[in-house]
């Protein structure tokens, strides 16, 4: 009882003071904190290991056990991990992707944590962490989506970054006339097509409509959905996308842009390190926000958020909560999202943004020109069954646009069953 009291007092004290208060070694946290993380790519892995080691060092009586699982494997393993001998802290994703675990009572309600004043700095992501009126985790990083393009090719052809759909189409025509493709994409694993739909749909019909569609409130056969596909088809009919993209993964589609056979790629910011590894310099590579289609709707942006959660079966809840406070603190946020660590955007408003032109541009875009709203991405906003049927339909549309009616009918059938 005494130790619990102590821990509570300590955590309350922390709510007022900053995390650095613990640097003195007065930590009262004891026992073991078990973390299961999906940050298995080299850079995130290093950041996660560093973070766990630092947290361990801050709390002399606490042992931090970190287990890193392959990011793809974790998407199915999390179920086993949370049900049998659950760890204290796990990685997952924001928004609808949390639903199964929240419904099954496997994530802990941490609304009390969000009520602490420190968490005001995370306000922009609160919506994405909220289900059924409570918060179920904390974000630790997010990244922008947008068009990454070959600046040198644009300069060679005398093109500017397009701001409107007309400019976009004109640019694309010029690129095609020069014997290149406008966009590379690898749709073998489907999700890349989801990005295109998110953008064209939200630019055509607005964020509200997009989210209503994701929530199953609008039939897929609606005329406004058809408008979205009609806009998309303009690009497809021009031959804007590389051929045979359904046989490539997103990584296999990278060489088309690196070799200059395609001029641009609609992707998340994680692609930048791949472009750089492929030999593109920052003079050759640049970024622009997806152009406006319908001037009457405010721009919405895809900015998927990755998160930490406490398992409801956690053994060391106090330490887990303390870790979540630690992860989201301004200091740690600046550190793990720095250019040499994750190279992404910090979720804490007081954190500093890495000195990298793409991260800076993304931060600028999301904080000033994403007034429509923030989407989490097709496969996180739509429920699982709708998302998988939907992305399959989107891929088919990109290859056989003439099948549109059939695709929409199928998706509508799925919608009526899923929701």
């Amino acid at each position: 009882m005494h130790s619990i009291m102590k821990a509570t007092v300590a955590s309350l004290a922390l709510g007022v003071a900053s995390t650095s208060a613990f640097a003195d070694g007065h930590s009262s946290l004891e026992g073991t904190l078990r973390i299961m993380s999906d940050m298995s790519n080299p850079a995130p892995r290093a950041a996660m290991e560093q973070m766990a080691a630092d947290f361990d060092a801050l709390h002399p009586n606490l042992t931090v056990e970190l287990e890193i699982i392959d990011r793809e494997a974790w998407k199915t393993q999390i179920r086993n991990a949370l049900t049998a001998n659950p760890p204290d802290v796990v990685n997952w994703y924001a928004a609808t992707r949390m639903t199964p675990y929240v419904d099954a009572g496997l994530f802990m309600d941490i609304s009390d944590l969000w009520a602490e004043p420190e968490f005001d700095a995370l306000a922009s992501t609160k919506g994405a962490m909220t289900l059924d009126g409570a918060q179920w985790g904390v974000p630790y990083t997010y990244y922008q989506w947008g068009v990454y393009y070959r600046k040198d090719i644009f300069e060679e052809l005398g093109l500017e970054e397009p701001a409107t759909w007309e400019e976009e189409l004109a640019n694309c025509q010029a690129i095609l006339d020069s014997g290149r493709k406008c966009y590379t994409i690898g749709s073998k694993f489907l999700w890349t097509a989801g990005g295109w739909f998110d953008y064209i749909n939200s630019r055509t019909n607005g964020y509200e409509f997009h989210i209503q569609l994701a929530n199953g409130e609008i039939p897929w056969t609606d005329q406004r959905v058809r408008d979205t596909f009609a806009n998309w088809q303009q690009l497809i009919d021009m031959g804007a996308f590389i051929d045979d993209h359904q046989t490539y993964s997103w990584q296999e589609a990278l060489p088309f842009m690196i070799d200059g056979e395609a001029a641009a790629y609609l992707m998340g910011n994680f692609s930048v390190s791949h472009f750089r590894d492929g030999g593109l310099t920052d003079d050759q590579l640049d970024f622009y926000q997806f152009p406006t289609i319908n001037p009457d709707v405010a721009p919405a942006e895809d900015a998927p958020t990755d998160t930490f959660h406490i398992a409801s079966g956690a053994q060391n809840v106090e330490a887990a909560k303390e870790f979540l406070r630690y992860v989201t603190s301004a200091e740690v946020q600046s550190e793990i999202n720095a250019g040499d660590a994750l190279g992404q955007l910090p979720v804490n408003a007081n954190a500093s943004v890495a000195d990298d032109k793409f991260i800076q541009q993304g931060f600028e875009m999301l904080s000033t020109n994403a007034t429509g709203g923030i989407m989490q991405f097709f496969d996180r906003d739509f429920p699982a069954e709708m998302a998988s049927a939907g992305m399959e339909g989107l891929q088919e549309f990109m290859v056989f646009p003439e099948n549109l009616d059939d695709i929409l009918e199928r998706l509508e059938e799925t919608r009526q069953r899923v929701y």
């Binding site: 793809e72 998407k75 199915t76 179920r79 049900t83 199964p100 675990y101 419904d103 099954a104 496997l106 073998k188 694993f189 489907l190 051929d243 045979d244 359904q246 046989t247 496969d379 699982a384 069954e385 998302a387 998988s388 399959e392 339909g393 891929q395 088919e396 290859v399 199928r410 069953r417």
Partner: protein
């Protein structure tokens, strides 16, 4: 005399009857635990809606109504299964042909045999990957070769919904042919040379010799080749997962892959529906299993 018999323990008295069961017990127990009971659990789950985490909801036959009442993914998967079953059987004549070809005594024949057997030794995943590169549009060898004849498959073999399944089956045939070849090579060793000689004296040669003398004697090998090929065709999951992941737009799914997608993949966890697919697949397999068992039973009876 009577007392001597009674003095023996119960086990000693029933030793002959009990011992075989004791030896079988571990096998039976594990077979029940890991095969028989899960089969009935699948039946049970298929009557529910369940996400694998929360409570099961009883839905009766609803999963089956949806599955058999016009689920397009199911129809595509089913017909792909049929394609697999029919075309995979090509491995048997192909294997026989290669076995006949290799069944001669030339210098270094062992090396040739092992080279032909090689694809069966490497993992299915590797075979799938190699064929994926082989089929790559533009740069793949297959595309280059078809290009010489002016044939251009839109999207590449694996990117075109009309050719993708056949492309995967062709990849699967490579190791399966090697397997059938080995079965026939051992079968050919057992062919009775006296019968061959007698047939030769009667003037049989060429395809008549093959059809009326050799192949009937290879019947046991053919039976095993048929069994493993049917099983191989129904286990085509690995190739599909590696080569197309069910795509393009779900055109290469088979029932086992669809079952996996519905119940265990990233966007799945519809356990009830997945179990219903598993049950349907089970009944399709049961047709073959019944035939195999019946046919083996007939052989046993004939041997007695």
């Amino acid at each position: 005399m009577v007392t001597a018999a009674q003095n023996r323990s119960w086990y000693k008295r029933n030793e002959i009857a009990v011992t075989p069961w004791l030896f079988l017990l571990p096998g039976i127990a594990f077979f029940l635990l890991y095969v028989i009971i899960p089969i009935f659990q699948s039946f049970w789950i298929s009557f529910h809606e369940w996400d694998g985490l929360g409570e099961k909801t009883w839905v009766g036959l609803a999963n089956y109504e949806r599955l058999l009442g016009g689920d397009r993914k199911f129809e595509v998967s089913f017909w792909n299964n049929v394609r697999w079953l029919v075309l995979y059987l090509l491995a048997i004549p192909l294997g026989l042909f290669i076995a006949l070809f290799l069944n001669q005594t030339v210098r270094g024949i062992r090396l040739y045999k092992s080279l032909f057997f090689f694809p069966f030794v490497i993992s299915q995943v590797v075979v799938g990957l190699v064929f994926t590169w082989f089929y790559l549009p533009n740069s793949g060898l297959f595309d280059v070769i078809t290009g010489w004849f002016g044939i251009d498959i839109r999207g590449g073999v694996l990117g075109n919904p009309n050719t993708a399944t056949y492309g995967i089956i062709a990849a699967g045939l490579w190791p399966q042919t090697a397997y059938c070849m080995i079965l026939y090579l051992t079968g050919l060793n057992a062919v009775d040379p006296e019968q061959v000689e007698a047939a030769r004296l009667d003037g049989a040669k060429g395809h008549k010799m093959l059809w009326y003398v050799i192949i009937p004697q290879l019947k046991p090998a053919t039976f095993i080749a048929f069994v493993v090929t049917i099983i191989g065709a129904l286990r085509s999951f690995d190739f599909i997962a590696v080569m197309t992941n069910g795509g393009p737009f779900g055109s290469t799914r088979v029932l086992s892959f669809y079952m996996f997608e519905e119940s265990l993949s990233e966007f799945g966890f519809r356990m009830g529906y997945g179990a219903a697919i598993a049950v349907v697949l089970f009944f399709i397999m049961l047709l073959f299993i019944t035939y195999f068992l019946w046919s083996m039973y007939q052989d046993e009876k004939g041997a007695r």
